[in-house]
């Protein structure tokens, strides 16, 4: 869809929504009110689950906290509803932060499990606190007022709900196209990839969990002043999974999926409530059988939801490539020939196996060093020790005079070390351009708020121009908006190189970049690496392809069975009988 068409669609939808209460009956308007409130919750789940790869069954509990906060403040203390909103947001945000801080360092399933437990706990808590009216709830909640305008009528609060929803969607869409939003989208590629780009995955997960909680809290506030009454039942785990169903039915990877899903599930529920009582007297429970089965079917056969299905039927539009922009600041590279990296006596054991034993070598600024060795020589372990993925049992690594051994991968990345992966780690559902922009994460500063409010546009232009430049440089500049997953594997490796270059690194560590490349592509890659060297970038190359290594590198370190076997110029290594024996097995 072209931007102009998209704007037209937005305007038409906005006009239709604005006119709705004037032409529709009050029952339909009420239905639309609930759809709007539920869509806010589902929107949080889209960000959290569909895009961030985390999930929560306890969103209903957050809605409950928001609703009870304002209900209590406005009825027991006569506070204005807007103060109730502040309290609702503060409480939901605070609770989400605590829960997230406790669970988000653990494997992915602990967060959803704790949200089930938490959802149940909060339900019983609401139901047993005298101040909150126990299971009877709180009634007599005042309507929201702005000056003398009261939002008591369904047709009035309707505008408030949909305005808040539109605002939340706008902020979310902006955020996803900003620096931190790309970090959220990178989460599902695994922590190893994101951390290697300098992204603090724990912080990003926590932020998106809190954001989803805040949307739910806002929805709860609207819900309380819409219903003018709250009781514990709508905040149990069962509605919690209905919100998740909405997100998945609409399309959990898309912002529009929240609204589509909320509408779909709410309308379906409404229709079922008309039909089911004719089948059985226990019909309230048949509804949940139906939704449960629907959800299972959806996850088995259409995990993407409705929105991607619709989008495939819309005409595609490719925007023009990013325009030139003022360049991002560059790092001052160390003087060529000075000591850049010193690996000293590294030792790493896995149980009884010594993968790396007492290996030392040095890397001087502006050189290309090849690290070679037969399978199982310990090259990859060495690689992981340098990049901070593994912690050494002994030994020290010094980068530009600073010890980096023991630092987290993202802190090493921040000191100017960029890497590629032997098993390609890209975000297949993001464009080539966005994948490369991710590489420049550490060179940009825009935070969540700046991204959501579109205050980051200058930096964003610069970083996109930079990414485009790197794409051109590696020869992938002709289709910047292609999805990375559509590239052949060899090109994906090259894309990783472009991503590494976008970080403006002092040291690039490449893990078998030539694997699977055709001869012409290998030559092009070698030319690129030579060009980088002439610019002062230092390169450590772990590689199997001897022809590629021999013609390119300045020096070689050979590893075998975890120890350093030899070190020297390519010609010396080629002539070394020990190296021949290691590779060819005793044929000298």
């Amino acid at each position: 869809m072209r931007p102009a068409h998209f704007m037209l669609l937005l305007l038409v939808s906005a006009a239709a929504l604005a006119a709705a209460p004037l032409v529709l009956g009050s029952f339909t308007v009420t239905l639309l009110n609930y759809i709007g409130v539920y869509a806010l919750v589902a929107l949080g789940l889209v960000l959290l689950t569909g895009i961030g790869g985390l999930t929560s069954f306890g969103q209903a509990a957050f809605v409950g906290i928001g609703a009870y906060a304002t209900a209590w403040a406005t009825t027991a203390h006569g506070a204005p509803p807007w103060l109730g909103l502040l309290l609702a947001l503060a409480l939901t945000g605070g609770v989400a932060a605590v829960l997230g801080a406790v669970t988000l360092r653990l494997e992915g399933h602990f967060l959803p499990l704790s949200t089930i437990a938490w959802g149940i706990a909060i339900y019983y808590l609401f139901g047993n606190i005298e101040m909150l009216g126990r299971f009877n709830g709180i009634s007599g909640i005042p309507p929201i007022q702005v000056g003398s305008i009261s939002f008591a009528a369904a047709g009035a609060i309707y505008y408030l709900i949909w305005l808040f929803l539109a605002g939340a969607m706008w902020l979310s869409a902006n955020l996803l196209n900003s620096r931190e939003g790309r970090a959220i989208r990178s989460l599902r590629g695994g922590a190893a990839m994101a951390e290697s780009l300098g992204i603090n995955t724990f912080r990003i997960r926590l932020a998106v969990f809190v954001l989803a909680g805040l949307f739910a809290g806002l929805a709860g506030w609207l819900y309380a002043h819409l219903q003018r009454f709250v009781s514990p039942a709508p905040f149990d785990v069962k509605p919690g999974i209905e919100y998740l169903l909405m997100a998945f039915a609409g399309g959990s990877g898309h912002i529009a999926g929240a609204v589509v899903g909320a509408a779909l599930v709410t309308l379906l529920k409404n229709a079922l409530q008309d039909v089911l009582p004719t089948i059985s007297r226990n019909s309230g429970q048949l509804e949940i059988v139906f939704f449960g089965a629907l959800f299972v079917l959806l996850l088995q056969h259409a995990r993407g939801g409705l929105v991607p299905f619709l989008r495939r039927r819309l005409p595609k539009h490719t925007p023009p490539p990013p325009a030139a922009a003022p360049p991002l600041p560059r790092r001052t590279l160390p003087q060529a020939g000075t000591l850049l990296l010193k690996v000293d006596g590294m030792m790493k054991r896995f149980g009884g196996l010594v993968a790396v034993s007492d290996v030392s070598f040095e890397l001087r600024a502006g050189e290309i060093l090849g690290l070679i060795g037969p399978n199982g020589a310990g090259k990859s372990t060495m690689f992981n020790l340098i990049t901070g993925v593994l912690k050494a049992d002994r030994g020290k690594i010094v980068l530009q005079g600073q010890a980096i051994s023991g630092l987290a991968a993202r802190r090493i990345a921040a000191r100017g070390v960029a890497r590629t992966f032997q098993h390609v780690k890209l975000r297949p559902n993001m464009t080539l351009l966005d994948n490369v922009v991710l590489g420049a994460y550490l060179r940009t500063r825009a935070g969540f708020l700046a991204g959501a409010l579109h205050l980051d546009r200058g930096e964003e232009r610069a970083v996109r121009a930079e990414a485009m430049h790197q794409l051109h440089r590696v020869g992938l500049g002709d289709r910047p908006y292609e999805l990375a997953g559509n590239l052949p594997l060899a090109s994906q490796r090259i894309l990783e190189v472009a991503r590494a270059l976008a970080a403006d690194p002092a040291l690039v560590i490449l893990d078998e970049p030539a694997a699977g490349l055709r001869r012409a592509d290998k030559n092009a890659l070698a030319d690129l690496l030579r060009a980088l060297r002439s610019e002062g970038v230092t390169i450590l190359l772990v590689e199997h392809d001897m022809d590629f290594v021999m013609g390119l590198v300045d020096r070689i370190v050979v590893m075998d069975f975890g120890v350093k076997l030899a070190e020297g110029l390519p010609a010396e290594i080629r002539a070394d009988p020990r190296v021949r024996q290691a590779y060819l097995g005793g044929v000298t």
Partner: protein
């Protein structure tokens, strides 16, 4: 609280905890073998108790209709898959598996026709009736998703729970049941009275724990399950079918859950939906063991039982809040001691 009350509460808590032990062990078993966090597991326990109660009231248990519904669905799915793959020769096997086997206990109930049997026979029949439920659910809901991320499997598990709890209301009705006591024996040690029932519960969980230990350590099937738990691909390479291992895990775990249901039946009034909370409390125990360690899960389950018992003395209406909120410090402890970031989600990109 004086010592006597403290001991009384401890006895109560240990008996409750022993029930959770059985369910927690089954939860860990299913999770390690199939990566499914099987939320409806507690429901199986509740259905076993409700089934036994139906026998005792000389009614036809609703379990029959539940099993028949699930068996019909599973059979239809299996037949469809086989026909589509052009493997019609495997149809008789599928028929045996998904229709004949689950129907054997149902046929037995028909033959008995509402007469009272000796208690042991009724218990055996109740267990046999609920045993197919979890493997059938595995076939219907989880096997088509065997390679999906843990997260998706967990969402499916919760959706399945709500779907079958709706069916359970339809088949069991809304009223609560309590089964006849298994034993009325009482023992007095000093001033403390210990019921035979609680000794039975604790004994059963110890016996089942030992049986599991022997099964995993000494039998081929047990070792195959352990192999699948450690590495599915590797297990497949040495000829273990993960789907079969998964079904076996669900079946074994059902025995554990069913037993716990039979044991809790006489001491608590159970409703069609009581299993959810029961299962989740066992989950809290299992999570203390990180969902992977059997002994720690068992200890965790006992801890939950004790916590619940003391919390209900302190404030009975808030005991659920205390039990579930205790997960937060537990997870905090785990997060500080076992923290590691997962790196498994790439499969999800296919979605």
């Amino acid at each position: 609280m004086n010592l006597e009350i403290a001991l009384l509460l401890a006895q109560d808590g240990i008996a409750n905890g022993a029930i959770y032990v059985l369910v927690a062990l089954g939860t860990v078993l299913i999770f390690t073998v199939t990566r499914v966090i099987f939320v409806p597991f507690g429901d199986i326990a509740a259905y076993a108790a409700l089934t036994l109660a139906s026998f005792q009231l000389e009614r036809t248990p609703g379990t029959i209709w539940l099993v028949m519904t699930l068996a019909g669905l599973a059979l239809a799915m299996e037949v469809y898959t086989l026909l589509r793959r052009g493997e019609a020769h495997r149809l008789p096997m599928a028929l045996l598996h998904y229709a004949v086997l689950p129907l054997i206990p149902i046929a037995a109930v028909w033959i008995v026709g509402g007469q009272r049997l000796p208690m042991a026979a009724e218990i055996a029949l109740a267990l046999a009736l609920v045993m197919p439920i979890a493997p059938l659910l595995y076939r219907i809901a989880f096997r088509p998703l065997a390679d999906a991320p843990v997260l998706v499997l967990l969402i499916v598990a919760l959706a399945v729970h709500f779907a079958i709890s709706g069916l359970a209301l339809l088949f069991f009705g809304p009223e609560g049941f309590r089964t006849e006591p298994l034993t009325r024996a009482m023992f007095t040690i000093g001033t403390i009275v210990i019921t035979g029932q609680s000794l039975l519960i604790v004994g059963a969980s110890i016996v089942f724990g030992l049986l599991l230990f022997l099964f995993f350590g000494r039998t081929m099937a047990g070792k195959a399950l352990r192999a699948t738990a450690i590495n599915r691909t590797g297990a497949r390479l040495v000829g273990i079918r993960p789907a079969a291992a998964g079904e076996l895990a669900f079946l074994l775990a059902s025995v554990l859950a069913g037993t716990s249901g039979i044991l809790i039946g006489p001491v608590a009034t159970l409703y069609y939906d009581s299993g959810f909370i029961l299962g989740l409390k066992a989950f809290v125990g299992a999570i203390i063991g990180g969902l992977v360690s059997y002994p720690v899960a068992a200890l965790g389950a006992v801890f939950v039982g004790l916590l619940e018992s003391y919390a209900s003395f302190w404030n009975s209406s808030l005991k659920e809040v205390v039990v579930f909120a205790s997960l937060i410090p537990v997870l905090l402890w785990r997060s500080l001691t076992f923290a590691h970031l997962e790196d498994e989600d790439e499969a999800e990109d296919a979605a």
